[in-house]
Symmetry: C2
Subunit: 303 residues, 2 copies
């Protein structure tokens, strides 16, 4: 078995994922469901150590390459950021001091856009991974999630991007709003017909979003809309409203979806209805490919 | 001092309000901040008794007239409902059984609309109060709040209405989303310039709502948007998006705003920018006027 020579880390709102690596080969993988939102920054290092402690070789420092919400004061993204237009990976990584001398952590900087103001922290690495696997690819990347992101790529550079609060809104509405009485928990869209109905409502009248939301509740009372149906409708409505707002991104373009398979399938379904050419890709594979590319750059530069 | 002969009750998501009445004259007033959302239905009667116990005359049953979320299983509206188009108050009240024999409670039914599916429970009584004070008034009533409602009135009837989840969305986003790090607590819009900025964004591009929300966070990181400014921007953005969606209601109409004064002022400001003639009215005054009208109808009918 090859010897571990570096560790890859992705810290997102969904959790903390780590890979023990020998070059581009995965030796170990572990994850924790404690998302950046739940886990204060001062507890990041203990959470990381709990996952990787057993992998660490004796007597030397192991390089760690991370992306996402590392080195931030609280849950949101807090830099450092590189400014678009630029390649998703730059030449410089940001050292993040850790207490444990066995680890030396460097962070892939996020990207920022002044107008309209926007930031990403983690997705730049997924995009870099996608480009590493699809050299020369031009078009639009969509990364669905708690924060859903549309990215215009040209000649290897991120030209512009736009973030939508779609996934987070879905969670808030289904768990904490008056809709929680009407909406089932579980998978997002188990009722395909209701999902499509919501999608069409969101696509056609995104300006009615705040009102269509309450209609889900009213239809539960008046028309017997079942909780599983209501959940599918809510999912379709929010995704439809997002895609309507993202029209300047997908119109006349091909779209690569990088996401968790179930959610990416819903976005693919929506875009296919709009005759947009779509391909789907596993975001976990892409994040590791991006970190591996960053590591290769570093080794080439003698870092 | 006149003798108490009935009790008026308004149960909304904001709390429970009660008035001890002699005809149309208020003898006592009390309130509890336990909203329908916090207070399970089986705790409604104890909460009501805690407020009115000291007012009850000996040896006879006191009639109670209520509106809002009474007689529902959990927090949302659950009927009974009358179907629009109809007058805000009908001839029939719904008896709600209580355990305490000193009280006899009757509920003003809510209103429902099959398509687009919508319900109201409590606002019909505010509308009835407004009509009692402004006989023959035709136009549009807007009732801002956790659920903001637009109502088309003609010849004394509610013709149609549309509910927006604006206030509830504001609370969820400012307290529970990733924006909570960026948004101050306190009054909604203490920064007039940022409120207007958000209002214009929401009015002009309601389809970008999910994206503009994340921009508030990004501007906090990149452009130094202060938490108080972010709160005003968020408020403007949501109210703007609502008013854009409600255009079929206000276009070419005069609008009567029934609401809490601070919130009604924000809506008035927004509508005035759109050259819509606006008047504002205290929603608490209207709910009592509506219940008083329902009581007068009942007495006239010999109930």
């Amino acid at each position: 078995m090859s010897a571990l020579d570096w560790i890859a880390v992705d810290r997102s709102s969904e959790g903390l994922r780590v890979w023990g690596m020998a070059g581009a080969q995965v030796l170990h993988h572990a994850r924790s469901d404690q998302g950046a939102d739940a886990l204060a920054q001062d507890r990041f290092e203990p959470a990381l150590l709990a996952l990787v402690d057993g992998w660490l070789p004796e007597g030397r420092t192991t390089p760690v390459l991370a992306c996402g919400m590392v080195g931030v004061r609280h849950a949101g993204a807090e830099g450092p950021f590189r400014r678009v237009p630029c390649t998703p990976l730059g030449d410089v990584l940001t050292p993040v001091p850790l207490r444990d001398p066995r680890l030396s952590l460097q962070l892939v900087p996020g990207l920022q856009q002044p107008r309209p103001a926007d930031v990403m922290q983690g997705d730049e690495t997924r995009i870099a991974g996608f480009l590493a696997q699809h050299p020369g690819w031009d078009g639009v990347i969509c990364l669905p999630g708690a924060q859903s992101r549309w990215v215009h790529l040209s000649a290897g550079e991120v030209v512009s991007f736009q973030t939508f609060l779609t996934g987070e809104m879905f969670a808030l509405l289904s768990q904490h709003s008056v809709l929680r009485h009407a909406v089932a928990s579980g998978a997002a869209a188990q009722d395909a017909a209701r999902f499509t109905e919501g999608l069409d409502q969101g696509l056609e009248r995104p300006e009615w979003l705040l009102s269509r939301l309450f209609s889900i509740r009213a239809e539960g009372l008046l028309a017997g809309l079942e909780p599983v149906q209501a959940r599918a409708r809510l999912s379709g409505l929010l995704i439809g409203a997002e895609i309507a707002g993202a029209k300047p991104y997908w119109l006349g373009q091909r779209v690569a979806l990088l996401g968790e398979s179930g959610l990416a399938r819903l976005y693919a379904q929506a875009l296919t209805r709009l005759s947009v050419p779509v391909s789907t890709h596993d975001a976990d594979v892409m994040v590791l490919a991006g970190l591996t590319r960053a590591r290769a750059n570093l080794v080439k530069a003698g870092g």
